[in-house]
């Protein structure tokens, strides 16, 4: 009878161990499920958008005879004429506009030459969030690149800088 009582006393402990193991497994599964739900590819998306701006036909110089963009040379006239609306049309998330946003600016020294923003509303929303971020983070992913370029106005070509910032929710 005594042995039976000891066995019965051990049973709850065995069950408790099983319970703790089950809870741990659940936790791992939830973490796994969270990662599945939050596969973040922001960096890759931001890189391709950056490239897209660096090869944009409305920003960069185009040699019609060679049918080639002149890589790394900004056409100042075209770039100045580029509006947000036109940029939005060429980089269009359509109904998914609140997915990612970006802006670029071209400068010669401290002098701004041109710039535009795609998905401006969303960009401004994220930008405020980014600047207001506290100790728990901003909730905004940011990728900024600065690329040395030549800026051509058709007559002269001067060294300048192109800065591209892409924002997305993290």
């Amino acid at each position: 009878v005594k042995r039976a009582v000891i066995s019965l006393q051990m049973l709850p402990w065995a069950l408790r161990v099983i319970f703790v193991v089950a809870v741990l497994i659940t936790l791992i599964l939830f973490i796994n499920a969270h990662f599945n739900a939050k596969i973040t590819i922001f960096n890759a998306e931001a890189s391709s958008l950056t490239t897209r701006l660096l090869y944009h036909e409305d920003i960069m110089q185009y040699d019609a005879a060679l049918q080639r963009l002149v890589q790394g040379t900004v056409d100042a006239q075209k770039c100045k004429a580029l509006t947000d609306a036109r940029l939005d049309k060429s980089i269009s998330y359509g109904a998914n506009a609140r997915h990612i946003a970006g802006a670029f600016s071209v400068t010669i020294g401290a002098r701004p030459v041109c710039g535009a923003v795609f998905n401006r509303d969303y960009y401004e929303y994220l930008d405020v969030q980014r600047r207001a971020g506290g100790v728990f983070g901003t909730g905004v992913s940011v990728k900024t690149v600065r690329v040395p370029v030549r800026v051509s106005d058709g007559k002269a070509s001067l060294p300048g800088m192109m800065e591209i910032t892409v924002l997305g929710e993290s």
């Binding site: 408790r16 599964l29 596969i39 391709s48 060679l66 060429s90 998914n96």
Partner: protein, 335 residues
């Protein structure tokens, strides 16, 4: 303690044990239900595929020029899910993911399910998505083919077997590999084209026996449109034209149609096809593309890969010649 005697105490313990068993069963049930849910929905695969396709589309739009991406030829996921690409959204199963389209470019798409792969194509002003087996992914959008009165074939590379046998300076064989050399390969191809209709073609170098020849002499021999035949060491087919030539547009149109004819004839043989206008004065003095004179239409074809013995250059030069001749004769002006 609820019960005061020993038996009652035992009963109380039993209740706790039963409660804990119930709890374990409940937790285990929830875990298995979750696992089953993840397994049947294949959540990760769908999300991964949707993002991957969206990224490919983003990259396609980012890349300048024509770009073709044959996706998932050996990827079994296409047989598991229905994949649809609308402008700005990839949907895999019920899982959507956005990509940045270009509203200025035409977008065509077909729903894809139960197939082994799709081709994502970006050509001039157009985005195209379709079943891989239904497209020649290298096909270019060509302007109308110009009329051609006469075509001059420029084959060989200026190497003389006769001079070599005599031990004298024998000229240039061009690219030379263990599989063959450019002088011989292009001469054979040129002879194949010429043989279709000798009256329609002129030649710079003799197609039966290659020999050294000055660039100026070859240029002087051009009658009508020039078609200069070359090979390369990569698995592509390129057509160079003079960017500042008087007949630039005509040359581009002809080059484009020749490329389409070649890639149609050999759908899997080449990894890329492009028309490349070049600024001739900037080229090196000995560059072969200098044969493209400014006052006559001309195309310099570079068909690869000369190092690959399974290339159409070796395996099927007649079909290659048929494809080239097919374009040349399509707009032939009968004199």
């Amino acid at each position: 303690m609820i019960f005061r005697n020993n038996r009652a105490e035992m009963t109380e313990r039993m209740y706790f044990v039963l409660f804990e068993i119930l709890l374990v069963v409940l937790v285990a049930g929830i875990i298995f239900a979750k696992i089953e849910d993840v397994r049947t929905n294949q959540l990760f695969q769908k999300k991964f595929l949707a993002r991957d396709l969206a990224l490919v589309k983003n990259v396609e739009y980012s890349a300048p020029g024509v770009l073709v991406y044959a996706y998932g030829k050996t990827n079994p996921v296409f047989s598991l899910f229905e994949v649809a690409l609308q402008e700005g959204t990839v949907t895999v199963g019920q899982t959507p993911y956005p990509f940045a389209a270009d509203a200025n470019a035409k977008f065509s798409s077909v729903p894809v399910a139960g197939t082994k792969g799709i081709a994502l194509v970006r050509s001039e002003g157009e985005q195209w998505v379709g079943l891989e087996q239904q497209v020649n992914p290298l096909r270019l959008n060509c302007p109308a083919l110009p009329s051609v009165a006469r075509v001059t074939l420029d084959a060989g590379h200026g190497w003389s077997r006769i001079l070599a046998d005599k031990g004298e300076p024998a000229g240039d064989k061009g690219i030379e590999t263990s599989a063959g050399h450019e002088s011989e390969i292009t001469r054979r191809l040129g002879a194949g084209v010429y043989g279709h209709e000798p009256a329609f073609y002129a030649v710079t170098r003799d197609l039966k026996e290659d020999s050294p020849m000055l660039l100026e002499e070859r240029q002087r021999k051009i009658e009508g449109t020039l078609l200069s035949l070359h090979a390369s060491t990569v698995q592509t087919v390129k057509a160079y034209v003079n960017a500042h030539g008087k007949n630039r547009d005509e040359s581009i149109a002809l080059a484009c149609h020749v490329l389409n004819a070649i890639t149609d004839a050999f759908p899997a043989a080449f990894s890329g096809a492009s028309v490349i206008p070049v600024d001739i004065p900037r080229l090196a003095p000995d560059d072969a593309k200098r044969v493209l004179v400014a006052d006559k239409p001309g195309v310099l074809l570079e068909i690869g890969n000369i190092a690959d013995a399974s290339s159409p250059l070796y395996k099927n030069p007649n079909r290659l010649a048929d494809a080239i001749h097919g374009v040349a004769k399509a707009k032939k002006v009968i004199s």
